[in-house]
Symmetry: C2
Subunit: 409 residues, 2 copies
C-alpha cells in the first residue's frame, strides 16, 4: 500500500558520500515500493564539530545568532549532496533549507522550538513527484534570522514535518537497529522490540536510552504520529513507537534502561516544614541544573533527609549550592556520591499487575545488590544502586522478567 513517509537520517547515516549513497538507496527502494517520500537530514558527522571548533577559535562563547548561522550550513551540505545523488538516479530529489520553507521557530538561538510548519510548498512538490530533501535541526524566527533547535533537533524536524504533512509514518534512521529491551552492549540477550508505546518510549528516553530524543517523542505523542526507529546500516523493520491502544500485547516490562553518569546528593536533618523541598531545589534549578531522581524521607525527630541526583558535570556546583542552603535552613551535613547507577524498568503492563516492584527488588536482593533510592511512576520503577553493580543488575532484571523470550501476542 502506498504511504506518505518522512524519513529522517542522523549524522552517522550521512557521515560521508558513501553513506549518503546508502541513504539514496534506501529512499530509492521506498519509492520503488510505491511510497511518497520526504527526507530530513542532519549534518554530516564531524562537519558540525569542525564548524564549532572554528567558532571557538574566534570566541569561546560565540554570539548565538551567528553560531546558528554557522552550524546551520552543516545540514545544507547534506541535503544538497543527497539531492544530487537522487537526481543522478533519475529521482526528482530537491533540497530545501528550513529557511527556504519558512519553518518558523521562536527566537531562542541554539535551542529554538518549532512554532509553525507551512507545508503548502512541499505538498505541491510531492504531488509533482518530487522527493523534498530538507535540512533538519533548523528554522527561522519572526525577524528572519536563522535558528537551530538544539539537541535532538533533527528528530523534531522530522516529526513536525510528518505531522504537518499528515504523513503515515515518520522513520528515524540511526546507527542502531531500533529500541531494545536493554542496551545490547551491556547484555547480549537484549531483544529488539517490534512495538513500544509513546509513554514507554518517553520513560525509557528520560531514563537514559538515547535512541530517540525526548522532544521528538513528545511531539509525536501529542499528535499521535507513528514513529519508526530503524538502522540505515542494515535492513530491518526496526521498532514502531505508537499509541498504546494500537498495540495488542501488554508486556509487564518492555525494557530496562540505565544511566551511570549521575551523582547523588543528600542533605540531612532539614527541619520538616512546608515548602522545604522548594527551598532546597529552587537554587539548584535557578543555577540551570537539571535534577533527576528526588527522594524525601521523614525521620523520627521531625527532620527530613532529602536526596536527589544530578548529572556528574553539575555535581560540584550543586554541592556548593546545597551547602549554602543548608546554612540558611539550619540543616545538617551534605553528602555527595558519584559512584552510582540508576536502573529503570519500564512497561505499560505494570498498571494492571501488582507485585512488579517486589519482583524487581527480589531479583536484585537475590544478587545481593543493595538499593539506595527508589522512585516510581505509573509505568516505571527506578532504583539507584552502586555503579559497579549496574551490569549485574540489568542482567538479573532482564532474566527475571523474561525479556529475552518472544511475546505470545
Amino acid at each position: 500500500m502506498s504511504k506518505l513517509i518522512v524519513k529522517k537520517f542522523g549524522g552517522t547515516s550521512v557521515a560521508n558520500t558513501e553513506r549518503i549513497e546508502a541513504v539514496a538507496d534506501i529512499v530509492e527502494q521506498s519509492i520503488n515500493e510505491g511510497n511518497q517520500v520526504t527526507v530530513v537530514l542532519s549534518a554530516m558527522d564531524n562537519n558540525t564539530d569542525k564548524l564549532i571548533s572554528l567558532a571557538k577559535e574566534i570566541d569561546p562563547e560565540p554570539d548565538l545568532r551567528e553560531y546558528d548561522a554557522l552550524v546551520s550550513t552543516g545540514e545544507q551540505v547534506s541535503v544538497a549532496l543527497l539531492a544530487m545523488s537522487l537526481l543522478r538516479r533519475g529521482i526528482k530529489g530537491k533540497s530545501y533549507t528550513a529557511y527556504q520553507l519558512g519553518i518558523k521557530t521562536n527566537s531562542s538561538h541554539s535551542q529554538a522550538r518549532i512554532l509553525d510548519v507551512d507545508v503548502d510548498k512541499i505538498t505541491k512538490e510531492i504531488q509533482g513527484g518530487v522527493v523534498p530533501v530538507i535540512t533538519g535541526f533548523q528554522g527561522m524566527n519572526n525577524v528572519g534570522d536563522i535558528t537551530t533547535l538544539g539537541r535532538g533537533g533533527s528528530d523534531t524536524t522530522g516529526v513536525a514535518l510528518a505531522v504537518a504533512l499528515k504523513a503515515d509514518e515518520c522513520q528515524i534512521y540511526t546507527d542502531v537497529d531500533g529500541v531494545f529491551t536493554t542496551d545490547p552492549r551491556i547484555y547480549d540477550k537484549a531483544k529488539l522490540l517490534k512495538n513500544i508505546s509513546f509513554e514507554e518510549m518517553l520513560e525509557l528516553s528520560s531514563a537514559g536510552a538515547k535512541v530517540l530524543q525526548l522532544r521528538a517523542v513528545e511531539y509525536a505523542s501529542k499528535f499521535n504520529l507513528p514513529v519508526r526507529v530503524l538502522s540505515s546500516f542494515k535492513d530491518g523493520e526496526g521498532t514502531l513507537v505508537q499509541e498504546e491502544k494500537n498495540i495488542m500485547e501488554k508486556p509487564i516490562v518492555s525494557g530496562i534502561s540505565s544511566i551511570d553518569t549521575e551523582a547523588k546528593l543528600t542533605i540531612r536533618g532539614v527541619p520538616d516544614v512546608p515548602g522545604v523541598a522548594a527551598k532546597i531545589l529552587g537554587p539548584i534549578s535557578d543555577a540551570g541544573i537539571d535534577v533527576d531522581v528526588i527522594v524525601q524521607n521523614i525521620s523520627a525527630d521531625n527532620t527530613t533527609d532529602f536526596t536527589f541526583t544530578v548529572d556528574n558535570s553539575n555535581s560540584s556546583k550543586a554541592e556548593e549550592i546545597l551547602k549554602e542552603t543548608s546554612n540558611s535552613l539550619g540543616g545538617g551535613s551534605i553528602e555527595m556520591d558519584d559512584d552510582i547507577a540508576k536502573i529503570s524498568i519500564v512497561g505499560r503492563g505494570m498498571r494492571a499487575n501488582a507485585g512488579v516492584a517486589s519482583k524487581m527488588f527480589q531479583a536484585l536482593a537475590d544478587n545481593e545488590i543493595n538499593i539506595s533510592m527508589i522512585t516510581t511512576s505509573e509505568i516505571k520503577i527506578s532504583v539507584v544502586i552502586k555503579k559497579a553493580e549496574m551490569q549485574e543488575a540489568i542482567k538479573a532484571l532482564h532474566d527475571a522478567f523474561d525479556l529475552d523470550k518472544e511475546l505470545d501476542s
Copy 2:
C-alpha cells in the same frame, strides 16, 4: 571625513580564523576612523574546493541547483565567523546571507547575474550602527532557489551592494597590493598604480591581469562607482579604479599585461566572401569556446588567412571544429600553435599620442622579438609573440615607456 564604504574580502583574506581576525582588525580601524562599513566576504580558501570534491564524489557533473545550494554554504561560514569576531570586539557585526537579504538574480545556476538589490534592510541596519557582513557570490532566483554568480561573483556582489547603497567607495581586498604597471613576479621594476580608469582596468583584466574580475569592473563603470583594490595582508592605499575624468594625469601607457595560456589557430586559403568570419567562428562559439584575439588578412589570390586564439584547454576541440569548417568551406590547411604569449600595452593617453604602436614595435624589434599577430583598440595594443620571449618583451616595453618612473602629475 566619514564615508560609507563596502569592503569585500576574497578567499585568501579569510582562509582561516587568524586571517578572519585580521579582517576584523581592518574593519575596526575603518570604523574608528569614522566610516560606516558594510562587509562582503568570499568563502574561506579551500572550503569551496572541499565542497566541490564532495559533489564530484556523488556526481562528476552534479545538478547545478544543488551545486549552488552546496557551495553557497562556504560564504555563510565566513560571514558568521567574522560577525562573531566583530561582536567580541564590541562592534555590532551581523551576518546576512544574500538569501536573507533577497539579492535577486536570474536562474542561471552557477553563473547567475544580479538583477536587483533591495537595500532597505541593510540601510536600516547601518543607520542603527550595525556592520552588515554579507555573503558574496550568491543570491536567489524568482522561485526562491539559491543561486551562485560564478567566477568573480563576490567582487560583483561587493560592487552591486555599493551601488545600491550609494556608497562612496567599494574596496576589494586581495592578496596583492593593488594594480601594477606589470606583474611584479615577471619584472621587479613593476610599480603600483595609484589611479587607473575603468576603461584601462577593463582592458588590462581582459588582457590577463587577474586582480579584478571583468564583471565587477563593468558593473562599477556602468554606475560610476569608485573601486579600490588593496591588500588585506599589509597596509597601503592600493589602486583606485575610477572614471577617467577624475584622474589628472594621462600616462600614454599605464600598464602591460600578458597571458601565455592561449593557443593560436590558423585556417589558410579560405575563399574571401562576405560572412566568412561568422562561418568560421560560429561553430567555435556554439561549442562554448571563447575566442580572444582575431586577425584576418586578405591574400593576393582573393583567399584569406584567418587566425584567432583560444584558451589552451579548448585548443584541441577548436582545431577539430576548424577542420570540419575547412572541409565545408573549401578552405586550406589548419595550423595550431600553443607556444605563444600575448602582450598588451594599455593606456588612456594613447588616444592623444600618435606613434605609440611604432614605439612598441621598435622596442620589440630592438630585442629581436618577432611579432606574429597584432590587434589594437582605442587604448590597447596587443601583440602575439613566442612564449619564450614573453618576459624579455615585458621588460623591454616597461623600460621603453618609462613605467618605473614617477608620474609628474
